[in-house]
């Protein structure tokens, strides 16, 4: 990866950042070992994961969902994997265990 990045002579000196607001370009999601996966069927749309996420990586989307019992939700919760660091707070706080932390990479044998 590092060979694709600019060299010392191409970088602004002293690590100075000349473009404000560029933290969005810094994808912190690649720190993750475990990723949260939301089971839309179990999810009761309580919004607790959205509230607790320290990285604002849970996103509320206007996406309708009807579960097997016929209950219709107007919104859904998704994970922004670009910024989710995999801390697992959402899974811990979810009152209905709708979020599972699964390994980011399969174990290689």
């Amino acid at each position: 990866m590092s060979s694709e990045l600019p060299g010392a002579s191409e970088l602004v000196i002293g690590g100075i950042i000349t473009k404000p607001g560029n933290s969005l370009e810094y994808k912190t999601g690649d720190w993750r070992v475990l990723k949260p996966v939301i089971d839309q069927e179990k999810c009761v749309r309580c919004r607790l994961c959205w509230i607790y996420c320290p990285d604002a990586a849970i996103i509320e989307v206007e996406e309708e969902y009807t579960n097997k019992k016929g209950r219709k939700y107007k919104i859904s919760y998704k994970v922004n994997y670009d910024y989710c660091k995999g801390c697992g707070i959402c899974a811990e706080e979810c009152p209905v265990n709708a979020i599972e932390m699964v390994p980011e990479y399969e174990k290689k044998r």
Partner: protein, 400 residues
């Protein structure tokens, strides 16, 4: 008078200590911010600057801080806005700044700092040696050792021009002997502010903190970025070697005084050299002519620019002699040679495959008295070392 257009006004020297000479240099450079904490034997530098500000001779912001750690931190903030920034310290003060030294150079803030060198505690010593600056040698600061009040004045001017060069942007330390120089009055010619500013115009850092053009300074750099940013400092240091020499030459053309980035005194036909800096070099200059009359053909290599180290120049000088004796005024405890400067010369000799004897001498620790007869002994030792190898560091003048 100059207005008559015939006779140029003769510059009359002022009687100044090195500390005062440095304060005059900051006034003539029109520094914008001075952030400092008093410490012996540096204190009179900033006292004099405070006088200049109080008298309206210098329009600068003097920041009184609670420690040297804060002094340099405030200086970084000031320099980051593009202000011409100065600070001064010594000994424990420089040690307390240590963390911030690396931040100043890493953020590439062109601060100039004078250091009235003093021993480090414990036991407490307010007297002169070089342990404070030698302790800070790897902090990516450009380091000068100066030998007179006049050279201190001139070097502060050169230092700002070097630090603020867009190719360099590294902080500079101008070091000299505490008390022996800091409090000794010598004749010093000072220059007109207009001339000094013409030589060293203010060139605010292009990436300075500016609300209209926001930047972030001193961010975190993960393992993908940190190494390249530190490597930029390596390159800037290499460029500083060339630039420092050019600036000194330009200074000589402008003001008639030049020093070179090092000085070789009585080096022609010398068979051995003594490497010394600051006041020891000046004393040796008075000793060497009479030692030559007695047959000791020993020259003096006076170190002026220490970081970056003038490797190529020293290599050529060392190539012509049979022996060098390196005087260190700091101890590198437990090192292969306990003289830190001797170790650098030793590595230069082996790396360049030079064939000469090196003798490491530690002297003047905590300002242990060194008078003419002591320097004569060292000249004789340097002479003897042409044919005799001293493997261990010699602790000159210590009671064992």
């Amino acid at each position: 008078m100059a207005s008559l257009g015939i006779v140029k006004e003769v510059k009359r020297p002022k009687p100044l200590s090195t500390n005062s000479a440095i304060a005059y240099a900051t006034k003539d450079l029109d520094v914008d911010v001075v952030s400092a904490y008093p410490i012996t034997p540096q204190t009179t530098v900033v006292e004099k600057i405070a006088d200049f500000i109080a008298n309206g001779e210098l329009d600068a912001e003097m920041i009184h801080v609670e420690s040297e750690h804060s002094a340099l931190s405030a200086a970084i903030g000031a320099a980051a806005t593009g202000a011409r920034t100065f600070t001064a310290t010594a000994s424990q003060g420089l040690a307390l700044m240590h963390e911030i030294l690396h931040i100043a150079s890493g953020m590439r803030t062109p601060i100039v700092m004078s250091v009235a060198m003093r021993a480090l505690s414990a036991p407490i010593s307010i007297w002169n040696d070089h342990s404070d600056v030698m302790n800070a040698r790897d902090s990516s600061w450009i380091i000068y050792f100066v030998s007179s009040a006049q050279e201190a004045y001139d070097t502060i001017i050169q230092a700002f021009k070097l630090a603020e060069d867009s190719e360099i942007l590294l902080p500079v330390m101008v070091s000299y002997d505490g008390y022996v120089m800091s409090h000794t009055i010598e004749p010093v010619i000072t220059e007109e502010r207009d001339d000094v500013l013409k030589f060293a115009p203010k060139r605010p850092f292009s990436y300075r903190l500016d609300p209209d053009k926001p930047v972030t300074m001193g961010p975190i750099a993960d393992p993908n970025w940190f190494y390249e940013i530190k490597y930029q400092q390596v390159i800037a240091m290499e460029k500083a070697l060339v630039k420092a020499r050019e600036i000194d030459e330009e200074f000589k053309k402008t003001f008639g005084r030049g020093y070179g980035i090092y000085e070789c005194f009585m080096c022609d036909d010398a068979e051995a050299l003594i490497v010394a800096k600051t006041s020891y070099a000046t004393t040796l200059k008075t000793i060497l002519p009479r030692m030559w009359e007695k047959g000791y053909k020993v020259g003096l290599l006076r170190l002026r620019l220490y970081r970056p180290f003038p490797v190529e120049d020293f290599k050529n000088i060392l190539d012509k002699v049979n022996a060098i004796l390196v005087i260190d005024r700091a101890i590198s405890y437990g090192a292969p040679l306990q003289g830190p400067l001797a170790m650098e010369f030793s590595s230069l000799i082996s790396r360049e495959d030079l064939n000469l004897n090196l003798t490491s001498v530690v002297a003047g620790i905590g300002q242990r008295r060194m008078i003419d007869s002591d320097f004569e002994n060292l000249v004789k030792l340097a002479w003897e070392s042409r044919t005799k190898k001293f493997d261990k560091t010699i602790f000159y003048g210590v009671r064992t």
